[in-house]
Point group: C2
Chain length 514, copies 2
């Protein structure tokens, strides 16, 4: 296990994340520090970093560097963005940092900043295309992603703070029309921003996450997850209109809005609102990952290509971090997939008619069915539910994530009493249904997963293949193996009552020699 | 990391747990297997293990042994209890097992069985004294523990199944008086069972856990934890009376009662009820740990003495399993404890008047404040809440555990909005109060923990000591260090608003050279 530190010197704050990583490129964030240094303060006057802000930055970077030494970090990547980039006294600042701390700061050009945003996004979403937007205080990065590659990118020289100052938005917003006009003018300078209607806007950074948080709170959204949360243009507009009507003191009381951001939030949400308005983009997807994660991926993944499958990558990450039996997980996944698709006709709906990507859901549930054992072996199916929902899994919508968590939790219920995460008890009914296809998918997939795990009871992968035959009154599982698997089958038969009540047919096994 | 397998060949089932352990004696259970072999079936007729049951046992042990090979277990400990112990064909059985699997089974004498029950219990409770009871099908183990050592022990030659058969309790119970008379007679043979009024009964095994589960469900108990759950004699009696009135089919419908145990549950609960009645013991404490854990501790801990402090041991276990920065945890704990006790006069109650052991609560909260980072760094305080409640922590009552979890979750709230685990949202109000001293303890300790963590921001232990002085309008933290800790103090000052609203006094720091 090695340690990597990423420092990110912005106009408003200096942040550091500490990351444990392994040779196999799995990693976990183990610490984060943030100091509100305001290095960009007053720069609009003369483009100079102010002495007292420099002092504060030096103090902060010294602390961060000490911490890196204390925990024995192997590699430090330190970057600076807008404030240092624009500073007339940039070199002097960098020299002083180096002299005092030994840190070599890399000043990112606007396009590089946009590139690392893209790197953070592309490796934590399964989306092929999108317009990535990172709203900062003094700049906005935009990246047009097509086929998971950068098609166009730009760093605009204005941001939430600039707009707020220009239109005096600290208190109320009486200049909405001017803002709209101004932003439309600015955006129209970029030819490639036109005709993006059919791709989503992917929002990076605290400001955009705040828009989503406000919307989630307003609607009592039942999952407290922002990554991959969706809002449409109307929702964003409604948040912008809402904050526009309020004074700064009133804004501080809005549930979900960080009081530290309340001052620049009209400008910030205005930027997002009018970009959607200008481009005609209908859908905003929130990214919890941005430039710092982009730097982590850039460091870990040698080639410049994005991760091929972000779901597989993040599942592998979790399995490594939790030190689980990956071979067993992989075998259960293979058996499960195999059996599941052979039973498609026993479901009341066709898998491709289900509104979500079933293959990703059942893969996640199967590979991570034991992930909860790290918390406590006993009731580990329930802990798997919690971990699947809360660990950083990428490339699943909230609905898909929740369905996977429920299926995983169902792999070990006693006679279907599943009381803790029972659909009737814990309510996620704004996201999944307590009945119909959702319930059927959870219950039937859960029992298939239970059977699949039983067939690898020996942890040796002794099953060669399973053929499933649907008969009128029973379903026959023909298990091919050159070993005596009577106990595996007996274990699988524990699911018989549940199976019969769900599928309306008896469960039968036949052990066949290969 | 090494692997240990414990196999336990009982009258009803054969079980195996797989345990990862380290040289430092920390461990985690990674798998459990259970086969209902019924090796003791029919033994009351001729004391012989039946051939078909032996076959089943051989098949099961072969599977278990294969699994041990597959996951490369370093050490196997296999024991047999009542059925094999009493069998006339014991040696032949053992020989066949050895020949087929290579496993050397150790047949435990009744007193040895009781001893491992004790080992499991003493190392997972902070109790000095108690009467330990393990109810099996054909035997009951009793251990009188005094000063954490075995004072007396016995294995009684009757159990839940015996009583059920003897009094024909499969359906209803019409012979309550006979049972009482019989059991009182049996118990009175043991002189040392008299006069135990003032110690608790500590119940081991699935049967006794079932009594607790039924009672928890009936009362909608909000925590789904059995270990260290308390019932009084009246509660136990009420469960016994309730099941006594019901037929077997009706019993299967009782929430909390495993349908597999429904047949012998009148006998089982009768045993517990009449032991409490006979001894006058008022309090039953449920143990989630028994013989198998006893064997793990016996293997891991070389000396025969119990763990000195089960809370410290289980916290260390968790920190190791989660691969956390233990030095940082220890330093935050020291700072936190120190500050906390200096602020006692700022609480509206004296610490020793609080109904729980405050020192254990705040130690747990402080040492485990970062434990949730293993699930996800972001919102890790909330994950710490979940992990503290669900990991195996020993030596805390449920109230203490819940208070520790709340305090830990409070170490990183943004401006005290603590919305997820807010006392007003998630309800554990049957266990802790939403107001008064409980709330005060959680909130004030939470902010003290937040300050303590800030003071080790550098992760280097640069603070030599902290002296806290309570003034009329402010509380002064005098931080002694030979280093420049301005940033640490600035970070701690993030808690200033919250501190003031909780303590009614301003928060001030002074950095002093040592």
């Amino acid at each position: 296990m090695n340690k990597l530190a990423i420092m990110d010197i912005g106009s408003n704050s200096i942040k550091m994340i500490l990351v444990d990583y392994r040779r196999d490129k799995s990693f976990r964030i183990i610490d984060e520090l943030k100091e509100t240094v305001r290095l960009g303060e007053g720069m609009h006057k003369n483009s100079y970093l102010k002495e007292d802000r420099i002092q504060k930055a030096l103090q902060t970077l010294t602390l961060f560097k000490n911490l890196c030494d204390a925990v024995e970090v192997d590699e430090i990547i330190a970057v600076a963005t807008a404030a240092v980039r624009e500073a007339a006294n940039q070199q002097k600042f960098l020299d002083r940092v180096y002299k005092q701390t030994g840190l070599e700061i890399r000043v990112l050009a606007g396009k590089e900043e946009a590139y690392y945003d893209y790197k953070g996004v592309v490796n934590s979403f399964d989306l092929d295309s999108g317009l990535i937007m990172d709203v900062g205080g003094g700049s906005v990065e935009l990246v047009l992603m097509e086929d998971r590659m950068v098609k166009k990118s730009v760093s605009l020289p204005f941001g939430a703070l600039t707009i707020t100052e220009k239109f005096e938005l600290y208190d109320e917003n009486n200049r909405d029309k001017d803002i709209k006009k101004h932003l439309h003018q600015e955006f129209s300078k970029l030819e490639w921003l036109k005709n993006l209607k059919n791709i989503p806007l992917i929002g990076v950074g605290g400001t955009i996450r705040n828009i989503a948080k406000i919307w989630q709170r307003k609607n009592n959204y039942s999952l407290e997850i922002l990554h991959y949360y969706n809002l449409n243009a109307e929702n964003v507009n409604s948040v912008y209109k809402k904050v526009s009507k309020k004074s700064i003191e009133e804004r501080k009381e809005i549930p979900g809005l960080s009081s530290k951001r309340a001052d620049i939030f009209i400008g910030a949400s205005g930027l997002v609102n009018y970009l959607m308005d200008f481009t005609g983009i209908e859908n905003l997807i929130i990214s919890g990952k941005g430039i710092r994660e982009g730097l982590v991926y850039d460091f870990l993944l040698n080639d410049k290509l994005p991760v091929a499958d972000v779901l597989d990558y993040s599942i592998k990450n979790l399995l490594h971090n939790f030190d689980l039996n990956e071979k067993h997980a992989a075998r259960v996944n293979e058996l499960n997939k195999n059996i599941f698709y052979q039973l498609e006709s026993e479901f009341s709906f066709a898998f491709d008619e289900f509104p979500d990507r079933i293959s990703r859901i059942i893969k996640t549930a199967a590979l991570l069915h034991d992930v909860g054992t790290n918390i406590n072996y006993y009731d580990h199916h329930e802990h798997s539910f919690y971990v699947i929902l809360n660990a950083d899994l990428y490339g699943l919508t909230h609905r898909e994530l929740l369905l996977a968590a429920y299926i995983s939790a169902s792999h070990r219920h006693n006679k279907y009493s599943l009381h803790k995460y029972n659909l009737n008890r814990k309510s996620f009914k704004d996201i999944i249904s307590r009945k119909g296809n959702d319930k059927e998918l959870i219950r039937k997939s859960g029992i298939i997963l239970e059977i699949s795990e039983s067939l690898d009871l020996n942890r040796k992968g002794l099953v060669q293949r399973v053929e499933v035959e649907s008969k009128v009154d029973h379903i026959l599982f023909k298990v091919y193996s050159s070993y005596d698997l009577r106990l595996e089958i007996e274990d699988a038969m524990e699911a018989a009552d549940g199976f019969e009540s769900l599928f309306g047919k008896e469960l039968k096994f036949k052990l066949l020699d290969v």
